[in-house]
């Protein structure tokens, strides 16, 4: 219905306003879609990283000779990431130290430490660089570097 209070020169200029509103709304819909997609991969990566650190620490804590065995811990860690696209079934080596790159997205370090109870323990750190996802400028980075550390007391 035409509002008689609207100046006559404005009448007839409202055609297409829905298109403009739609255009303003679209970026938010796209951001929501991309945000959910990115979140799913980040959540998956976080779970895998935490498991990798935990499994690595479980292995390293099994005896005094394995406390700093980062190589075997790396093989366990990689097996938690096998279904992520930047690890896959072929990757068999980890990055040096805690440095991760696109070609070596997983790095594992293992060191002998004194645990909170004063006994010898291992500290295994897993660093993982997620695959390149869709960034949202200023809100979500396209990649995320996840760093998880687990300490576990030496068992025997």
């Amino acid at each position: 219905m035409t509002d008689s209070r609207i100046p006559r020169r404005h009448v007839g200029r409202r055609s297409g306003s829905n298109v403009i509103e739609f255009s303003l709304l679209i970026p938010w819909y796209i951001f929501l879609f991309v945000g959910a997609y990115d979140y799913g991969f980040f959540a998956y990566s976080l779970i895998a990283s935490q498991t990798a650190a935990s499994v690595g620490a479980t292995y390293c804590s099994s005896s005094s000779s394995t406390l700093t065995d980062a190589t075997t811990a790396c093989s366990y860690a990689l097996d938690q990431f096998r279904y992520l696209p930047n690890v896959g079934s072929g990757l068999s080596t980890c990055g040096t130290g805690t440095t991760v790159t696109t070609s070596a997205p997983v790095a594992v370090t293992a060191s002998s430490v004194t645990g909170p109870d004063g006994n010898t323990a291992t500290a295994v750190t897993v660093v993982y660089l997620t695959p390149q996802l869709i960034p949202i400028p200023g809100i979500l980075p396209g990649t995320l570097t996840i760093n998880r550390t687990v300490k576990m007391r030496q068992r025997s």
């Binding site: 035409t2 055609s15 819909y29 779970i47 479980t58 096998r82």
Partner: protein
């Protein structure tokens, strides 16, 4: 009441809304769909990890000193289904691997009654590895490609894997 508008604009808003409302509806559905998909995706990772952990805590010592906590393939499948609450158990392919080979449950729900011991008695020792892996089909989140369960590439297969050592 009959309304007349200047410049023949009567119904323009309705037409515009109809034209733009359809993609808007599809996009809204797609956002909900991808959120559910991603929930399923990371729940798959969690369920796989939790199941592997469950197996490693029910290993060799479950048969020692009159203990009776040995588990079966059915127990493992049931645990996985419980941990993967976001997943449709009829759509998950679950694989359990120990030194004696791989048991495949396709789907996971088909193994809940299986009484075969897992890990296998000949391989059930502290320090040995067990691997749990699972694959799951996600529905294409872009609603315009529905209906679901059509030929690929409308659906996506995702997976998770966890290799752990038998602890007890």
């Amino acid at each position: 009441m009959r309304l007349r508008r200047a410049n023949g604009r009567r119904g323009n808003a309705l037409i515009e809304f109809t034209l733009l409302g359809i993609p808007l509806t599809f996009m809204t559905i797609s956002i909900v769909a991808i959120s559910i998909d991603m929930w399923e995706f990371h729940n798959l990772a969690f369920a796989t990890e939790a199941t592997a952990r469950y197996v490693t805590l029910h290993g060799a010592t479950c048969t020692a000193n009159s203990n009776s906590c040995t588990i079966t393939v059915g127990n493992v499948a049931t645990f996985f289904i419980g941990a993967g609450m976001a997943l449709s158990s009829g759509s998950v392919i679950l694989k359990m691997t120990d030194g004696s080979g791989t048991t495949t449950c396709n789907p996971a729900s088909s193994c809940t009654g299986t009484s075969t011991q897992f890990p296998n008695a000949s391989y059930n020792a502290v320090g040995n590895d067990v691997t749990i892996s699972a694959t799951y089909i996600l529905k294409n989140p872009v609603a315009i490609f529905w209906p679901p369960n059509s030929d690929p590439p409308n659906d996506f297969t995702v997976g998770a894997k966890s290799r752990q050592r038998i602890l007890f």
